[in-house]
Amino acid sequence: MTHTFVGMPPFPTAARAALADTQLRHNLAHATATIRGKRARVVDEVENWEELRLAGAAVKDRALRGLDEHLVQLEESLTARGATVHWARDADEANQVVIEVAQRHGVDEVVKVKSMVTQEIGLNEALQAEGIAAWETDLAELIVQLGGDLPSHILVPAIHRNRAEIRDIFRRRMGEVGRAAPADLTDEPAVLAAAARAHLREKFLRARMAVSGANFAVADTGTLVVVESEGNGRMCLTLPEVLVSVVGIEKVVPSWAELDPLLRLLPRSSTGERMNPYTSTWSGVTPGDGPQEVHVVLLDNGRTRALADDVGRQALRCIRCSACLNVCPVYERVGGHAYGSVYPGPIGAILNPLLKGTGDPQTDSLPYASTLCGACFEACPVLIDIPEVLVHLRSKVVDGHREDRVPKPEAVAMKSAAWTFSRGGRLRLAERLTGVGVGVGRRLGASRWTSARDLPKAPPESFRAWWRRTDGRLDP
């Protein structure tokens, strides 16, 4: 029933399939246009939005530049407040921690708060392999999980589904895993939300263990922060006896007061609201209130690799708002699945290669999934210069092929261009041959290039020939 992104084809192949799906394109165009409008309205009413972005970027930069000290402090404050801190180098180590806690308590199910990081590490599949069911409780995640589908957006993972498709999934699947959808289920969003409420409530009330991520982890106070809308987060963070939170090490915020710009930037950039309906914060264990056993897993899984990249490091500022997806002309047309990762869109195009390293054909295709238009950079609340990182990563991908025995066509073209341009005589000869070359190119190898672009017609005369003939005068 669960699916993963493992084995996805490179972006151009996946994008071709997505572009052929007219329903998908319609759903995406509608959804991204709606969210862009909402965001624009609430961003425009903030007088000093640009200063706020600078402050948000500065907080995250400060966190990253002193990451070792902040992590040690976070561990100390969490431990002092009764939480158990675990460290995980990679996905397997993190999954193992969660499995061990579940097994120690003898639970065969956990409820989950929507969390990007637990998708990144494939936690649900790892739990399933041990016979532990992981119930997604965010509405969109529920739609994805029941549909045996993959998430396609950071904030709204079921953005590719319309209301009629969602009704069908609920009707077909809810009864198999718990309380069935009512027989008279319509496709009204309010009715579908009510069905999800009834379906999940029995799971919330009986769950003994929950798994969450965290939007922020405050080093000086040992406070974790979860930002959400539906209340499923509050249910998971409050009702079960045991809570395990998996937190990427880049989620650290140095001090409590520095949450200020981030809590203001995130909801406006993400759902287009002044503030999201619910934000929960907790520091370890509170006697008599909420989970009495609290674990925090601090996860690397490639983050230190990204941190070591001087240009790419800024990607770790990301607060997962998804504003860059909603403004991206490429994302709007192909959707999230084509990126082959839980992190799609412009941020995914840089985050995946930074976390995993270049060298794999799927990952290497991602920095090219962009026109470098820069809309993502303008929308980013923490000023990540995504185009700059894309270009940097493209150079890394190219560098990775310098020693190839059979060079790529671009490499051959660039090499011959360098040879030609380095001597005036060679250039003169090349100019004379351009007309012939374009004609041949049309017939031969450039068809993959020209299938989506026009190859311009060769001019009748080169600039240098024109200059020689006219001495630069337009009226000779």
Binding site: W256, A257, M275, P277, G290
Partner: protein, 202 residues
């Protein structure tokens, strides 16, 4: 080597050429308005919550009026006496099970602080607000906000709040936009948020 030492080692080598930045960052303040309480009420109403004003002497009657006839009402153990006495037949939370809370229709609480710019109420789950489950499971939350609890923006709220306590920031009723980004009020948290602002505006 332990995972901890390994990760911290990798972080240190990644940052070998980077100077840490010791000074905490201060963000620009939010927009200042003359009438914080009115601004707060307007912003809460924007989330499609119910907002009513009343004078300090009328709070008991206003709270009673916010509850449908026959509603089963739970209150936290430290609810002030003037509020408590207004409610004829209530159950005081003494560690009710989740199932018992699920049988309740409404909960009445106070709050710790309220934020005008974002229309947010923050609970710190002191005895006049109760533990977190009490304000989560029942479907209607009636929350009493004193005018002097309203602050201008998020920074002011963070300065008042104690991060050592569990906190719940509430901005309107529970909502989702997961279906075609169409906003629907009411999923898992209380579907009705009823805010009573007590005291003089300004």
């Amino acid at each position: 080597m332990s995972a901890r030492d390994d990760i911290l080692g990798r972080v240190r080598s990644a940052l070998a050429a980077v100077e840490p930045d010791p000074a905490p960052v201060t963000a620009p303040p939010g927009t200042r308005v003359a009438d914080l309480v009115a601004h707060f009420a307007e912003r809460v109403a924007d989330y499609r919550a119910t907002v009513v004003h009343c004078a300090a002497g009328d709070v008991a009657g206003t709270v009673a009026a916010a509850l449908p006839a026959g509603a089963r009402v739970v209150v936290p153990p430290g609810l002030p006496d003037d509020l408590r006495s207004a409610l004829a037949d209530v159950i005081v939370d003494d560690g009710l099970s989740a199932d018992a809370l699920d049988a309740m229709d409404a909960v009445v609480t106070c709050c710790r602080v309220a934020i005008a710019e974002t229309g947010t109420i923050v609970l710190d789950h002191a005895p006049d607000q109760g533990r977190r489950a009490v304000t989560l499971v029942p479907d209607r939350h009636v929350c009493v906000v004193r005018a002097d609890q309203v602050v201008a923006d998020v920074a002011d709220a963070l300065a008042v709040l104690d991060p050592g306590r569990p906190l719940t920031w509430i901005s309107g009723p529970s909502a989702t936009s997961d279906i075609e980004l169409d906003r629907v009020e009411g999923v898992h948290g209380p579907r009705v948020l009823h805010v009573i602002v007590v005291g003089e505006a300004g």
